[in-house]
Structure formats: structure tokens, C-alpha cells
């Protein structure tokens, strides 16, 4: 099962995502990120520094949300976007010899995805020493266009309802 087309179009067609995390005192934190969406696992991935505030927040509270949108400064009816909510997981960081094959594969796949999506920006820059991959397991997604909303959930069996 896949997400409705309008949601997928937004997820595939945009470069910036805005990730909201919050610490154990419910203080939100917001940062723009580059991201990729993986249809197969229905996850959103982004790369960040392991010392960043969002990584610290995620280790205190894994609930995150991310908004990806198209904004029109003139006509609000053209504003369109999605907000996905879910649990974030930080892929463990270890020297390359100690990484599981699965993690290595994930790093490779995600890196290649990023490279093709953000080619002009990241060029051939390798992953940095402190970079970690964060994956967001989407549990709920809201889509809007102008004043119209639509929302979907993923149930325990992975079905979209």
C-alpha cells in the first residue's frame, strides 16, 4: 500500500523539510533539513550531525514531525504541503568494520539517494565523521492544499487507513 498521490508528489518533489523535535521538557526545536523519502519502507531519512540539538532531543524523545511544503506568497490557495509525524531512530554510529551489513547497506543506499537528489549541492562530498542517518517511521500524515485537509494513519499492521 502506498500513500495517496498528492502526498507522494510533495514528498518527492521538494528539497527542504522542517523537522520538529522536542526535549523532555516539551520545548520544541525546529531545523530545516535535506531529506529523502523511501517508498518501500515508507520512511523519511535525513542526515545530521550527531552533536546537534535534534539528535539530543531524539534520544530524549523519539517523537518527531516533519513538514514539507510548497509556499505561494501571493495566493494561499496554492499552498500545499504535508506534515508527517512518527518515531525517529538514529542509526548507530560505529567504525565501519563494526557496522552490521544491514547498516552499511542502508548508509550506502541513503547516501546514493541523497547524492542523486541533491547532486548540485553536495557534489561528491562524503558523509562526515560525525554524520548520522536519522530515519522517521511515519505513523501519521496530514496533507493540505489551501483550506482543504486530508489525513492518513498507518495502523499496527502497516496498513494505511
Amino acid at each position: 500500500m502506498i500513500f495517496p498521490d498528492e502526498m507522494r508528489n510533495i514528498l518527492y518533489g521538494n528539497y527542504f523539510g522542517y523537522v520538529c523535535t522536542s526535549d523532555r521538557h516539551d520545548q520544541p526545536h525546529l531545523t530545516p533539513v535535506f531529506f529523502v523519502y523511501d517508498e518501500h519502507s515508507r520512511k523519511i531519512f535525513f542526515i545530521t550531525n550527531d552533536r546537534s540539538k535534534k539528535v539530543r532531543n531524539i534520544s530524549e524523545n523519539p517523537n518527531v514531525s516533519i513538514t514539507i511544503d510548497i509556499r505561494d506568497p501571493v495566493n494561499p490557495f496554492n499552498n500545499e504541503g504535508v506534515m508527517a509525524q512518527g518515531k525517529a531512530r538514529i542509526t548507530e554510529k560505529a567504525p565501519i568494520y563494526f557496522m552490521s551489513e544491514e547498516t552499511l547497506q542502508l548508509y550506502y543506499d541513503i547516501y546514493m539517494e541523497f547524492k542523486s537528489k541533491y547532486q548540485q549541492v553536495i557534489e561528491n562530498k562524503p558523509l562526515g565523521e560525525n554524520d548520522v542517518i536519522v530515519q522517521i517511521n511515519i505513523e501519521k500524515m496530514v496533507y493540505w492544499r489551501g483550506p482543504h485537509f486530508k489525513s492518513v494513519r498507518i495502523d499496527a499492521e502497516g496498513k494505511i487507513i
Binding site: Y18, T21, S22, L30, N79, M83, Q85, P147
Partner: protein, 408 residues
């Protein structure tokens, strides 16, 4: 300023009191209350010994009250300025150092106006004064009473001088600060907290002026002195109010962030309740000092903010062709949600913000007003669209890939 100089940021009075036990053992508010109490007790004892009338005791108590209230207000300057963080602008930092330098000068210039007032007043009182002394103490008062009254007069005159000294200096500082703030570049600024404390000190000084009116009953028999007190009151209050107003117009954001906030059209608001976060785009306006956004009465974020008013608010400029041109600023802090109960006091501000919205987003306003929209989306102010103000406590700024934390 060097550490040693910092410790010396005291006036004569603060220094003397700070060295005499038991005052030296108390925090300054308690020490002032204790002084009030001592003076009162001494005054009352003298009053009984020399058989003074009730009116003399009342006059004495009023003078003590004025002196002590003035102390309470003016002695906040030292501790507040001691805690002051250095502005992130060389010129503004120099100005504030210069201001503190003059205010708490080693040579104690602050005592000069007070001394001048004291000498003039004493001469007036003893040589030209029509029966003021007599109305206070009766005929041929004892030397001890005269000494005590002189002490009280010194207390009052010294503080009057401080009031003049601090308010004139404050006005000078505010005018210079405003002027320097117009020449800032990039991330230069004086943090918000510091600007706010300067304003608070100026407002204190305005009250200082008003308190002088309490002296009028003591001087009521002398037209000239009443006029002088009145002039003093108007002078100090007006100068301090003007200074506070000018400080409130100094931008608290450095130019880079100010321009980003001023020029960008969209923002994102992140909220959180019981650990579950929520982030959506919003339109916002900036009046040079405060940031406001609008939300629907039915929106999820409003419901969350009503339960937890901590937010993160992000404004950015995105450019895919050159990531080094990307800029973003995130404010974390709390929000104030405006409602019907704010109308009586804040109506003017609410209407001004509405005007800013109409100016910044003319199409939005027009489209939001159509009746085809769901009711919650219509731009009926206050009722369906809720006005929210962002009150930042922390600022993070990104330029290209660089992250900079900016003090608020």
C-alpha cells in the same frame, strides 16, 4: 571594564552602607528597610524628648519615606548594570562602558548635584527661609533636632541629585545607543534582555520623579520650593520616560536577522505536547520589535499551544542554487495567545498588527475574507483568526552551513 573596576560600581552611599554592620550583612532591600526603621526610631525618640507635635513627626516620617523609596529605586542601577552582558557591537559596548564609567566614577561626580542642592537649600533655609524650620520644629529647636533634620535634608538632597544625574545620563545613553544601532552590520546588536533592563531602569527613574510630589506637604508654605519640586518632578519623569521610549525603539535583533525576519514571507511553527510534536507553516508579521502570526481557532497547533506555550519558530530564506546563500533563524521561547480579554488594553496593538497583515499579504487577506471558505479560515479578527505573539528566549541563526547562537 576590568574585574577590579567592576566591583567598584558603587556610589558613595552604597559603599558606606555596605561597610557598616548590620547593613553590610543584609541584602540591599532589607538593609534599606532597616535604615528606614532606624531613622524612624531615632526621629520618634527625638520627637518625644523634645516634645514635638504630631505634625512634625508626620513630616519627618514622610521625608524618611521619600528618601527610602528613592534609595530602593536608584540602588537597582548598580546591581542591574553589574550583571549587564557586553553588547555584540564594539561601538555599543564602548558606549555602555563609558556610561557606566561616568555613572559610577571613581571621583564620585554623582554626589556633586546633590551637594549643590544641599548647600543651596541649607543657605536658603537658614538665611532667607521664611518660617519653614519653625513650621517643622517649632521655635528655637534643640541642636540635636537641627542635626537630625540636616541629616534628613542631606539624604533627600543627595538622592535628588542622583535622580537628576541618572536621568540625564540615561537620556544621553539612549540617544547615542539608538544612533549607534543604526550603523550596525551583520550580527552586531545589544541583547534584548539588556535593552529591557535599561528600559526598566528608566521607568524606575520616572517613578523616582513622581515620588518627589510627596515632599510638597512639607514645603507647602513656600511657593518657590513647591514650584521647584514640581519642576524637578516634571523634568526627571519626562526625561526618563523619553529615554525609556528611545530604548524601546532600539532594534533587539542584529541587522542580518532583522532583515531576514523583515523580508521573508513564511515561517514554521513547531509545538509539542506530551512529547508529540507538530510543525506547520504560518504567515507572520514583524513590527520591528515583535513577531506575530495568525492561526485558525480550530487549528491543532492552537489547541497544543493552549496546553503548552513553548514553541520553536523558524524563518528562512531558501535557495537551491546556492546553499551558502541559505539563511534561517529559529526562535525558541513561548507564545502569548491574544483573546477577547486582551481587547480593552491591547486593541490598538491588535489593530496595528492587523494592518501589517493586510499590507504584507493583501491577497491573503482578500481571499481569507470570502465567505466560501470554512468559517474557521475566514479572517474575522479575534473570533475566528487568533493572533499569537512569539516571545523569544533563545535565537539560533544559520548562514550557509554555519550555525551561530545569538544572545537574546
Amino acid at each position: 571594564m576590568h574585574e577590579s573596576a567592576k566591583k567598584e560600581m558603587k556610589w558613595i552611599y552604597e559603599e558606606i552602607v555596605g561597610r557598616i554592620p548590620p547593613f553590610s550583612m543584609l541584602s540591599y532591600q532589607y538593609s534599606i528597610l532597616l535604615q528606614l526603621f532606624f531613622l524612624l526610631v531615632i526621629g520618634l525618640i527625638l520627637g518625644f524628648i523634645f516634645n514635638l507635635g504630631t505634625i512634625s513627626l508626620l513630616y519627618g516620617s514622610l521625608a524618611i519615606l521619600v528618601a527610602v523609596s528613592w534609595s530602593l529605586l536608584i540602588l537597582q542601577l548598580g546591581p542591574t548594570l553589574r550583571k549587564f552582558r557586553a553588547p555584540l557591537s564594539k561601538d555599543e559596548n564602548e558606549l555602555l562602558e563609558q556610561y557606566k564609567g561616568i555613572l559610577f566614577h571613581r571621583n564620585h561626580y554623582e554626589a556633586i548635584p546633590g551637594l549643590a542642592i544641599f548647600i543651596t537649600f541649607m543657605l536658603y533655609l537658614f538665611y532667607y527661609g521664611p518660617n519653614l524650620l519653625e513650621s517643622w520644629l517649632g521655635k528655637n529647636p534643640h541642636i540635636l533636632l537641627l542635626l537630625f533634620v540636616s541629616l534628613l535634608i542631606w539624604d533627600i538632597c543627595y538622592r535628588m541629585g542622583l535622580g537628576l544625574w541618572t536621568s540625564v545620563l540615561a537620556l544621553w545613553r539612549s540617544l547615542r545607543l539608538k544612533k549607534l544601532s543604526e550603523k550596525r552590520t551583520e550580527l552586531e546588536h545589544t541583547p534584548y534582555t539588556e535593552l529591557r533592563s535599561l528600559r526598566r531602569l528608566d521607568i524606575n527613574n520616572a517613578f523616582f520623579g513622581i515620588i518627589s510630589l510627596l515632599l510638597i506637604p512639607l514645603l507647602q508654605t513656600d511657593r518657590l520650593l513647591v514650584t521647584i519640586i514640581f519642576t524637578f518632578m516634571v523634568f526627571v519623569t519626562l526625561i526618563s520616560a523619553v529615554s525609556a521610549y528611545i530604548v524601546s525603539k532600539v532594534p533587539w535583533l542584529p541587522p542580518d536577522i532583522y532583515n531576514l525576519v523583515n523580508e521573508s514571507s513564511f515561517a514554521y511553527i513547531g509545538v509539542s505536547f506530551k512529547g508529540v510534536t507538530h510543525v506547520t507553516p504560518v504567515v507572520y508579521v514583524f513590527d520591528g520589535q515583535e513577531i506575530f502570526f495568525n492561526t485558525s481557532k480550530e487549528s491543532k497547533k492552537l489547541k497544543i499551544m493552549q496546553k503548552n506555550n513553548k514553541v520553536a519558530f523558524l524563518i528562512d530564506k531558501r535557495d537551491m542554487s546556492n546553499i551558502y546563500e541559505n539563511k534561517a533563524v529559529m526562535f525558541t521561547g513561548v507564545v502569548k495567545i491574544y483573546g477577547l480579554r486582551d481587547v480593552p488594553l491591547q486593541l490598538k496593538q491588535m489593530l496595528e498588527v492587523r494592518k501589517l497583515f493586510i499590507k504584507k499579504y493583501p491577497e491573503y487577506t482578500r481571499k481569507y475574507s470570502t465567505s466560501e471558505l470554512p468559517r474557521a479560515w475566514q479572517l474575522t479578527p479575534i473570533i475566528a483568526r487568533i493572533l499569537v505573539e512569539v516571545k523569544p528566549a533563545k535565537i539560533i541563526y544559520w548562514r550557509g552551513a554555519k550555525q551561530i547562537s545569538v544572545p537574546v
